[in-house]
Amino acid sequence: MKKLILACLSMFLVAAVNAQTGYQVGDMASDFNLKNVDGKNVSLANYKNAKGYIVVFTCNTCPVSKAYESRVEALNKMYAAKGYPVVALNTNDPVASPGDTYAKMQERAKEKGFSFAYLEDPNHVFTKKYGAQRTPHVFVLQKTAKGNEVAYIGAIDNDQQEANPQRDNYVQNAVNQLLKGEKPSVASTKAIGCTIKWKKEASK
């Protein structure tokens, strides 16, 4: 009996930890319906020809995100036509981070000529659901019969400062393998990033 209680308790604990940390590789990712910088709402399901998605949690203000902007754009140029479009979500609360308002997002997208959707995520609903911990944080999803399966979580590459021509392009490698019908050999990576600027809880 004691063992059973322990087993139940540990299962409960594992569930609690998972709930806290968001998706793991192999989980089914939720679709969303969020406002893009062009004023229209975007869902993953809108991309009829997609084989999967490169979901990038990012923002306007983080120096690491900024350093990766052109590389995110390049990913979309490289893979949208092959069935893996980039969909970017801004993680930050516009009050906590005034540089991340919807208007500023529109400005940034125009200035940089983003060819991918750049969505706001009010109240961090999907940032929390996916478990993005920092910006930029990438989730590569593969469309399967069961839903959008998380195939890769982590960094875009291992060379933030573009100092190493021999860099490992994690997202490119993952998508290339998925396109070949393989599982990504490196399915999760780490990187230094900015903390997410969470909405301040209203004082009770």
């Binding site: 120096p63 911990q133 920092r134 291992n158 060379d159 990187a191 230094i192």
Partner: protein, 160 residues
Amino acid sequence: MGKYFVTFILVLTFFGVKAQVKLLTLNELEQRVAKGKDTTYVVNFWATWCGPCVEELPYFEKLNTENAGKPFKVILMSLDFKSKLKTDVVPFVATHKIKSEVYVVNETDQQKFIDRVDKNWSGALPATLILNTDKQVRSFYEQAFTYEQLTKTISNVIKL
């Protein structure tokens, strides 16, 4: 003439202060820590662009001052880009009058670097490592600290 000389010296001192922020690899950090066997090192990973990091820096500074003369050292490892050393880090250290040792991390592969600091580190900042060679202490924290939390944590892992 004297005035110019004073200005000249001031400029020199200013640049002298500037030169104090150096690049440091993880190997160099470990060699540095290995030298002071009886010393407790509190290594804080931060960046000028990281809000919660900047907020907790005064606590690390206070810790360093209050333990002066003891085998105790705060090392601030900045994860600002190397290219921002002169433009961001040095002016930040000057305006905040930071007395602790400050370095900019000199590693290209963050994947390896993060895992080498600690397997459980997600890469989020701030993060802090407490080290003491003689007492075989290596404790890692991916969190921001208040001054009270910091002193309590340190005295818990190392009997100061």
